[in-house]
Symmetry: D2
């Protein structure tokens, strides 16, 4: 029988944190006693709890502690971090410390060292006096990795102040029955705030942006400076380019609002033309590509990371066909990001959620409640979801943020 004393401080009751902590202990097969509990008397007071955990095995208690750290629970006496030398490229030691996406510090040589680039499901590699997260596929034999749960502390996110009522539209619930127009204005405000702090806005977007006729709204947002980085796949870029070259997007004639069934032949021809040009940027330079979202990103010098998938046609020459290389490019693209918005994509949203620190606010917009739910389920606790129509959402967001769009002609209107 092994035991360990842990503690947690914060809005433990009203946020439901303590409830989840106790749940997890039982689910992991452990037992507990609550040794001390100081309740916050008023809504603004913090509470404090100290618990003794008990489990059969040392290994298991270390893993339970890693689990509880996702809730901000830490050992009262974390001790010193233990480092092991990695024996084999791409393989962690068995007892590696598995990270959360929260701010984390490790105790090395008596000092608390911050872990750079918080990301969940990674290891912590220590080089000299610095520590950073590392994906299992990037670890090399000879690297020094933090093992066990000792010497690691996780700093929980500050509780959202519920009595003030700032940017908080949907917590656990995912629902389409919310005052959507209000939510659009809240997101617009948050984007303005992030930009005024000198931070970047990251978009993760799927092809429905083009299908719903929202590409002009998206272009307006790029032009107005509210799209700094785009993470996406081959599909949205191809549909956007197809729409520019042929006026169709996988068979939807956007002017008339009616669909050509399949119409895949436009699709593969659009890809072929960009392959001939060599890259999207080259196609813009040579005048092959003259409109659309990708064109706007190129002409405004914005960054995009396109990562392919097994269902891709082509793909476009800019697309990472190796997904691990694509993940690395996405990680590099997170620098200075202060806000992330995910629209109409499951695959790239989950991928981004996997690598995003918990400290970056995140909004997920989709007409399908399951996409939002799935994202939250994977551990992106900071995710906020809006179930709405992408086309109308982007139209309204552009009206809020892009004054030029407000006056200018809109799609389907005669100019």
């Amino acid at each position: 029988m092994s035991s360990e004393t842990v503690e947690v401080r914060g809005h433990l009751i009203d946020s439901g944190v303590l409830s989840r902590v106790l749940d997890d202990i039982l689910e992991y097969g452990g037992d507990y006693s609550i040794d001390k509990f100081e309740v916050g008397k008023t809504p603004t007071d913090e509470s404090y709890a100290r618990l003794t955990l008990k489990m059969e095995q040392d290994d298991d208690i270390a893993r339970l502690i890693m689990r509880l750290q996702t809730h901000g629970v830490n050992p009262t006496d974390p001790g010193e971090a233990m480092l092991r030398e990695v024996e084999q490229d791409g393989v962690f030691p068995d007892d590696f410390y598995s990270t959360t996406n929260l701010e984390t510090v490790v105790r090395l040589g008596g000092h608390w060292v911050p872990v750079e680039n918080p990301e969940m499901d990674c290891g912590i590699v220590v080089v000299g006096e610095r520590a950073r997260t590392i994906a299992v596929s990037d670890i090399k034999a000879g690297d020094h990795l933090v093992c066990g749960a000792g010497g690691v502390k996780v700093v929980p996110l500050p509780a959202i102040d519920r009595s003030v009522g700032g940017f908080e539209f949907m917590n656990s619930e995912v629902s389409s029955e919310k005052p959507q127009a209000l939510l659009v204005r809240q997101i617009a405000q948050q984007m303005r705030d992030v930009k005024s702090e000198g931070k970047k806005v990251l978009w993760v977007a799927g092809p429905a942006v083009v299908h719903t006729g929202a590409a002009p709204a998206m272009v307006a947002l790029v032009e107005a400076g509210y799209v700094d980085v785009l993470f996406a796949g081959n599909a949205i870029a191809t549909h956007d380019i197809e729409a520019s070259l042929f006026g169709t997007s996988l068979g939807v004639d956007l002017k008339q609002g009616r669909g050509v069934e399949h119409g895949h032949e436009h699709h593969i021809r659009a890809i072929n033309q960009i392959r001939r040009a060599g890259s999207i940027a080259a196609a813009v330079e040579t005048g092959v590509l003259t409109g659309g979202v990708m064109h706007a990103l190129v002409t405004h010098g914005k960054q995009f990371v396109l990562v392919g998938s097994v269902r891709d046609d082509g793909p476009l020459p800019d697309v990472f066909t190796d997904v691990i290389e694509g993940q690395r490019a996405m990680r590099a693209g997170l620098k200075d990001v202060g806000f992330a918005i995910m629209v109409a994509t499951m695959l790239h949203s989950v991928a981004t959620g996997n690598i995003l620190p918990a400290s970056i606010p995140l909004v997920c917009v989709d007409i399908n409640p399951a996409t939002v739910t799935k994202l939250a389920d994977r551990g992106s606790a900071q995710a906020r979801g809006i179930v709405t129509d992408i086309g109308l959402f982007l139209e309204q967001l552009a009206l809020e943020l892009a004054p030029a769009y407000r006056e200018g002609s809109r799609p389907g209107e005669d100019v």
Copy 2:
């Protein structure tokens, strides 16, 4: 073995009509030969087909013909209608003619008499020289009802001219991947056209209109004259009234955009207050109710028919608790309707689809594709579906149709 010669004229191939006709013959266990087929050579030419149907039993062939009439197929020699005297209140003779929702004529005494109030799944009662549809629950012993398929001709809807591209956004397909902003403008235009012809616009609406914060947009549409009749249930009226009285709607605080879980207690208190007043109109007159959609309908003298359901609390005093009486009130409300729009309700949309003539254009808007599909499946072939967010849809429709709303303050903004 029984046989009958039938014919059909129109855009038989490109519309898929002939394909469905042949399908239905086989599904009903019949056989056919195509005796004559004159194909329209160009896209605008009509085609003509004459078929011989064969079935084992006379009864079955009569029922097959009724089925084919939903596609505009009629016997070449329909003969004279046969009338039977009804023996029992609320019960049709076994071989009653079951109606389509298309324009229909019956041959009585050598003359073709139009059937008033086309409605599907009804009988045709003949009184003197007039014929009209009648629901089974309204038939009385002694009434004269058309029986068998003889002497009945159905006039198919004019084919939508596909080469022109008017009001045609979604045919068989139901999809959220459409240019939604364009669709809003098309619907706005159609509403203007209907009003300029002196016809009425019928709305069928569910509670999500209130939950999504779209009640102010709906009020603007009432004030601008684009809501002549509302068919709904107890829920939307209650939530709208609750929002006016308490600022909440089943627990959604509309100003802050956050939800009170359940909060049913507001709900039943709102109902109780209107019950005390005696009716919604009385509550408006006495100053109990001062805002919201129901208030706008009352003050602008617009009609509403509220029909209850088994899940209702209360209900409000205006609600028909007997659903058959409610159906009668809805039928009466169809007079002069030239366009129907259904938003965010399955139950009342299907109910309205059941009684609506096929000649009235119909748009169904819901975030759930299943609602639209279900409506179309029940025989409302003229139904067009839009899968989108109700809140943003109504916001945009109000911006198109209600100039005052455009300038005025919007919900959630400081005035």
Copy 3:
């Protein structure tokens, strides 16, 4: 400023109860201080909390207390219940006590009197020394109703013992990603337990039971004694009867597994035949109806309550067309029910959830996650949801519970 001291005891933290209590106080615009908090040290210990509530208005604090009572919170000093005489039929006094669906007691003349028939959103009427819930539509002038929150105590449900792991498949989550075969066996076991205690099993079922070809499985469950009461609408009964009379169900040829589009004509003819017979039971007696679920219920002397809706054709003569009368019949049908299962119906499931005491375990089975979520949102906290296919679910449940079904021929197999 008004204040009141309340207390609550139980598994306050791990169940999340206390978190919801604090949420509700703030959402109602109140303030609190936690005066005492005794935490349960181990997983099996109960906790105890005493809070002081503060609000601007007396009225509001009474309503907040009613709200908190849904979580088992009660005033420390409830005092005596206040009764008011009702002035108008069908209208409660403004400050009426709005009930939860939990076991409740009222203090009358110094004694705690249990409230009969717990049901939410009702009033409490007192007749002599007895108290019972009453719907607003049933109240009469002169009745004595409990008003304000004084003198009322709610008895919370016993916490589900999480360490034992009995019948607990889905808590807050609704998901199709669960080991479904295991869930079927758990439900079968619970039905056996309920029957062995002499209690009844209530089914609430929608038409998909017939569409999915599961009627034979349902018949087997009736025959095996696991369907005591059925709450349903016109649709399932009609489709079931149509399937027996014509071998089709709204156009699905069940033997071949292919669909006749619409085919509504069978539907209305089936209804007409039962109307001629006078009732479903009469149709069984006279040999008109010889198979299906309704036939099985009649021949085994089981109870069914069919309540109509505005979308109904016909309806069948057994259907309550007045929904308030239908609700009364459903309330009467709850006697001795020990377990409720809802399959493939939103409307009648919500209606049943509205009138069901929280003490009756409830399982909701639907392929659409939204149905389950909606049910739970309306206050049926004891609801457990399974997202699965109705056809395969009932097939498997019948294999578990009906040995005869196991050996016998199954639908689609040659006999």
Copy 4:
């Protein structure tokens, strides 16, 4: 103005083919006249149509013909195929012939040569006297590619004989309201037929197979010989291995049927262990992995192709991280496949649909109707969809096909 005469033979009307042909002509901006139309008189007779197409531009008419070939329409005088030498690796000539997934022949030197490996959205490369499809990413400078629509004929699929009623449950419709138990038996029969012809059964499966507790059923199907090839991603293999190593799958405790929230830490540890072993097969050999679906595939010598995606953790060492290489491996895995079944995966199902010849029957099973619809939308016209619960579906399929499973213990039962 350019024109071309085309012809088509088959069940043109009842199948809806001619309707779609005429639609496509108008959607591509062309015009037509029907020069000859010989209608099949009876349900079994074929029809024949000859049309003249007219378009502004030669290029456009070539592309329209490629489009119409997806419906089996061919030029009456196709002439000789034109070959162009490819100038640049990975780029097709502008006027490349874009393939359908139907059987195709090209006329080379006066002979009709069959195109090997029918696959849509590809080019046709000619090497010596042989022709085969080639993806754009695989083309090399110097290759000879078929360009324009001349000299290419497409052989339409034989019409499904609708009067017989074999394996035909869902045509255009996707619905959960079908007799599901019957469908399971039809699929089982088709699998037996395919195996008895010496063909392979291809499975494409997503992680819900494991989450729903259906892994034991899937193992039984592998053991019984009904899983020859598996196309999947990192997720299902990881969850299956996690379930074997830790008894959990992304937080679902399969024995108890309750979920550990997230629990990602098991997930990454399972991957790490297989990475240490070097491959899944090596982990089986060394005794690290002793159960589950992947174990069964390895021990029974079955093939699996795992292709990664950007959201993957790890990944497992067997996973193709380059998606284009993964596509090549999947193409190689199609050899001798006679039947394909896709369960609970969107990404890999669409990817497989992209490369599958139309001649291979295909069933798609998912609880989400959108997945099936999306698959069909992408051009897999031979796709049949079943909307049902994966867990119960696989349980029932195993009961049909794996006698050992029938007798053996089932998950959750005491042995």
